[in-house]
Symmetry: C5
Amino acid sequence: MLVNCSAYEDGRKVADIPVDKISDYLQRPGCFVWVALNEPDAGELDAMQREFGLHELAVEDAHHGHERPKIEEYGDSLFVVLHTVDAGPDGLSVGEVNIFVGRNYVLSVRNRSQRGFTDVRARCEREPALLRHGAGYVLYALVDTVVDRYFPVLDNLESELETVEDQIFTRESGRASLESLYALKQKLMVLKHAVWPLHEAVGRLHGGRVPEVCAGLQDYFRDVYDHLLRINQTIDSIRDMATTAMSVHLSLVTMQENETTKRLAAYAALIGVPTMIAGVYGMNFEQMPELRWTFGYPVVLAIMVGIDIYLFWRFRRAGWL
Amino acid sequence: MLVNCSAYEDGRKVADIPVDKISDYLQRPGCFVWVALNEPDAGELDAMQREFGLHELAVEDAHHGHERPKIEEYGDSLFVVLHTVDAGPDGLSVGEVNIFVGRNYVLSVRNRSQRGFTDVRARCEREPALLRHGAGYVLYALVDTVVDRYFPVLDNLESELETVEDQIFTRESGRASLESLYALKQKLMVLKHAVWPLHEAVGRLHGGRVPEVCAGLQDYFRDVYDHLLRINQTIDSIRDMATTAMSVHLSLVTMQENETTKRLAAYAALIGVPTMIAGVYGMNFEQMPELRWTFGYPVVLAIMVGIDIYLFWRFRRAGWL
Amino acid sequence: MLVNCSAYEDGRKVADIPVDKISDYLQRPGCFVWVALNEPDAGELDAMQREFGLHELAVEDAHHGHERPKIEEYGDSLFVVLHTVDAGPDGLSVGEVNIFVGRNYVLSVRNRSQRGFTDVRARCEREPALLRHGAGYVLYALVDTVVDRYFPVLDNLESELETVEDQIFTRESGRASLESLYALKQKLMVLKHAVWPLHEAVGRLHGGRVPEVCAGLQDYFRDVYDHLLRINQTIDSIRDMATTAMSVHLSLVTMQENETTKRLAAYAALIGVPTMIAGVYGMNFEQMPELRWTFGYPVVLAIMVGIDIYLFWRFRRAGWL
Amino acid sequence: MLVNCSAYEDGRKVADIPVDKISDYLQRPGCFVWVALNEPDAGELDAMQREFGLHELAVEDAHHGHERPKIEEYGDSLFVVLHTVDAGPDGLSVGEVNIFVGRNYVLSVRNRSQRGFTDVRARCEREPALLRHGAGYVLYALVDTVVDRYFPVLDNLESELETVEDQIFTRESGRASLESLYALKQKLMVLKHAVWPLHEAVGRLHGGRVPEVCAGLQDYFRDVYDHLLRINQTIDSIRDMATTAMSVHLSLVTMQENETTKRLAAYAALIGVPTMIAGVYGMNFEQMPELRWTFGYPVVLAIMVGIDIYLFWRFRRAGWL
Amino acid sequence: MLVNCSAYEDGRKVADIPVDKISDYLQRPGCFVWVALNEPDAGELDAMQREFGLHELAVEDAHHGHERPKIEEYGDSLFVVLHTVDAGPDGLSVGEVNIFVGRNYVLSVRNRSQRGFTDVRARCEREPALLRHGAGYVLYALVDTVVDRYFPVLDNLESELETVEDQIFTRESGRASLESLYALKQKLMVLKHAVWPLHEAVGRLHGGRVPEVCAGLQDYFRDVYDHLLRINQTIDSIRDMATTAMSVHLSLVTMQENETTKRLAAYAALIGVPTMIAGVYGMNFEQMPELRWTFGYPVVLAIMVGIDIYLFWRFRRAGWL
């Protein structure tokens, strides 16, 4: 589905143009075309391939999807694959944005991604001074936007970790905490898969030999690179703490078991001692003087209760009950 | 066993040729020969070595097998070792494909590998425009096919992990889950051994100095490289999650033990308390007024049952029973 | 808030100058301006950007904050982000210092950082021989100070580890030790995030191509680099030992449980044996000669006590009680 | 002890020569001398040092032994340290082979190594075409042989792992499995220490600048390098699986404990319930009608047995017994 | 404290000289001065700084101490920091040796280090042929000595590990083994901190561009480098095995607990069964024929004992008792 197709000159929009006029505008010097597609069918992609002369392998990648994030050079043009990550009701959902960038065109293709880039276009059009940099700047704006959208996802994961830490340390460490930690690790893996390859790829856009399309924009891409580094580092920290939390959990569970065993031992003693005494006075010896005492029975009862109170107090003090 | 032996010119098959004519066709400019062997005996390999002038060490490797995946240059020619991985009834079975590639020939030798490459040959012959690239393109086609066949294996491993996760979290975490996780790790290791060295080797075919045979095909090999990277990353993720699943399993087993101990404590209390009371009234004191009450017996029985009901309710509420 | 704004010439302070005179002094050869801001508002930053001609992206980073430590070159000038780490009542609190350095100016911007740099300025002014190196030396002095302030934080963490080790090995290994270890790991992570990226960045100021501002100061920056390396290494050691301490803790907890179970077994035996004997003499057989013995009762009592004393001694010797 | 000392020319043995003639033969162009020592004393090493002009530090290393595997250049000559690893009755035994190689000589010195290299010499002498490469080829043949002898050791370790896996999963997971795993890890460490540094060192003989002695033999050394890579990778896999097996073992032990606790709980119930009932009918109330029933006793006995049968069936079904 | 101050020429000691004559000797061509200080005060260091023209930052480092091991170039001279490690009564004690080396001088400064270097000086003076290499050789001799002194420390740690392994596998795995393992890990960390940075630093003295002072001594420094590599590798192995030993310990403790639980269950059965039988014959039914049998009592006693003997035999055979 075609979302947008416009020509820009000198940092300002010239016109919304139909797809078959694209090649005309590409001829005009100082002019570039910016096309946005969403979940295109094969026909639309073919049309684009013809208009912009895209490389077959890149188009195939865009068509099949499920590529890892990357930035590839095909001659003068770049093919960029980005993953969008959105927090959905059951875990993170991953979408894909493919961007074809040449000297005088940008083509973005969204797949399974919930949010579009109309705000990026609007922002770019409000700043002609920057948009004058051409297709490379548009690429920067798109990548920057995708990366900025990782931050709220990351913040969510951080607060999930805090919730679980809270559960583990202040409440009962049960099954639920373990499941949350496991799910957290799965989500971190998903985010990592989106961020890590991109981070590597963007690194090649700000240092050393830079593709011509991005020339003069190194400072901008270094900024994106830095954000990706920060996200990466935070992911690693959360993973590390999640692993630590899992072993803390195991220790706590083992300690709880220890407490259960102590309680079991205390119960056994509290019940067992009176039973033993009662057993003694249930023996059938003919000569058991206590049995004939008038207050034998209440005295023995009192002794039983007394021992239990004493034991209870001892166990309580030792933290067994 | 000779599977196929054909000469190609300008992207089209010229003829199926007998083995002893190979050297004739190798002389013709613009012509290349593509031979496929399956589980060849020493004689067949020797014949090939003579026809194509293969390097002794490479032939020895192909003969002995059990090499790790690699791409080696011997002068102008390449010697490529690939592992095929098939999901068999008991674990993964690994086969080997050795490919000798020169300027004007491709020789593929399969060993212990279940599926052949006739579909690759057919596909190549349908696309003369690509096959015109020569022996390098055939190499790409073969490597790409082997790599593509890793994906269903990987998908299987991913669903095995999901099955085990399911087992662990929703049902009893028993021995079977542990064995599945262990087997999963073993399979990942096997797949990793096939993928990791190949990934390194293919990296040298798309960047920096490229062997002449593969010149002009960098974009294609970069594509394969990218798929290998993706497989690698997925393997690492599955391994990571499998390790996490194992420690989750340990925690869950410890928690189950805790629950068993609690249940044991609860049982002990439920049985012990009435036994204690019965013990008291089994004492032989002469002065025990309750023994003479008409309703002493039923009252004591009621007390026993009452206490047990109360305890049962308490334990149930505390989650011990 | 403007903290300080002075011009220096030949290693000595020339004058405290108002902000709008900065550009005048920047013109004077051999003169440099050193400005310090604390939690500036947007207006103050804008004024500075105009006076010094700072790069937009750098100013934006300084304004938004939450960047990772880094040293970026924008043409001839450097933009440095440092994290300050202070031990607060609940964990470590992280502040940010942004430093803009050009050939003839230094602008430091503090945010959420508790301690200022007036002592650095005072120390620099006392050593004109060194301050003569210009803006690069001021940068060194600031970075060196921030890094030196990490050491007491690190020392605190080291003694926290020692406290926990002490708790674990000499006293009961309880919940508190686990929580301390977890908190320690969190703090190490925070410190690591401040130190690690800075260490990488400073590495680029003492070897290979050095930014012009820092030329001739390599030995100084190598010294800072070395301190950062040492901090990094110590952080890694503490983390490693903390992880080890956690698994020691788990082993100790499991051993405690073992001891509890042994004690439970011993109790059960001490109570169970007399109960069993009493049960025997509570049987109602008509022919039980012992029941008629004059000293039957005291003898049986003595046997019960004797067995318990023996068992107690055995259990004590075996370390079960 | 001198094992062998021969001169070779044009790939063929010229003569077995006495030690003091070595320098004569070294003068003859196109001729090289190959000497083999086994556990030499200081005098023999000194003689060799004089004859071949070996570097003092290298001789010292060969004399003291206990060096790590390495390949060092001393001017035009190489000093190679290899470790031989033999499976002995109690663990692996490590020997050392030091090889001095110059343009026209090879000196091998064995220490604490069980198998010699007479088979290597015999094989070389059978292939004059290869031996014509000179001293470098002899070095290759020796290194290749040492490396090939690692494979059976590795295979042993692999089957040890399989034996332990079998023990763990199919039989009782006891102390023996743990000890085997620990011993396996120790052996892997020993083998790793022999292989890893050699792998690094051999890498320098097949790529980039190659020592002159080995010129023209890169393909051969690459082959050795590849075998070392494969051994390394297999070692890492076995270690990884051994670590996994240890945590599986822990989980299984914890599960066994759980089962023991369940059995304990079941026993307690089976014994406790009849005891409780017997206690009730052991009470001395005057009004207990059941006591007077003719069939009171057998009915109660039947109830006891009935309850126990029911409980037993329940526990059996739940897998507790 | 000044330990020694001598001038050397052509590999031989010329004279012991007073500190204020140092600069005179430094003028003489072909002559070098070797000074040794132990725990110098600020004044002594200042004097040296003046005599040799040492760099301020290096002197400051030597004064403050607590630097990490390193080799720094200041123009033509080197500043070397080494850690000495001695096994003390409670753990390892770390000392520091700072060495300033120039074209014609060596100054060594010891701090908190127990053993001096008089033996190094004596050995050097006995070998004028080597000492003729000048200051660089003295540096080599000092570094080599410090490194050689690590070996006995390492051997101690290796035998500590063996002792603990022995404890764990053959005797009771208790608290003491855990504490030993923890202490072992701490000591390894200390040694690692001394060795690892030095290993990196020495690497720069034998390959690539070498500081002029060390020119011609690469083979010697490579030897030191190799020893450091070996120490490093051994440290890593011991750490790895120590970590493995800790998890083995945990498994063994868990198995011991399992055994305790089994013993508890067995005890409970041995005591519980006779108690139950006695309970049955303690019931007060009027019609219990056994009670009237003449041998009822001994028969029941025999049954009790018989059952217990049978159970005991079963438990013993199953390894529960």
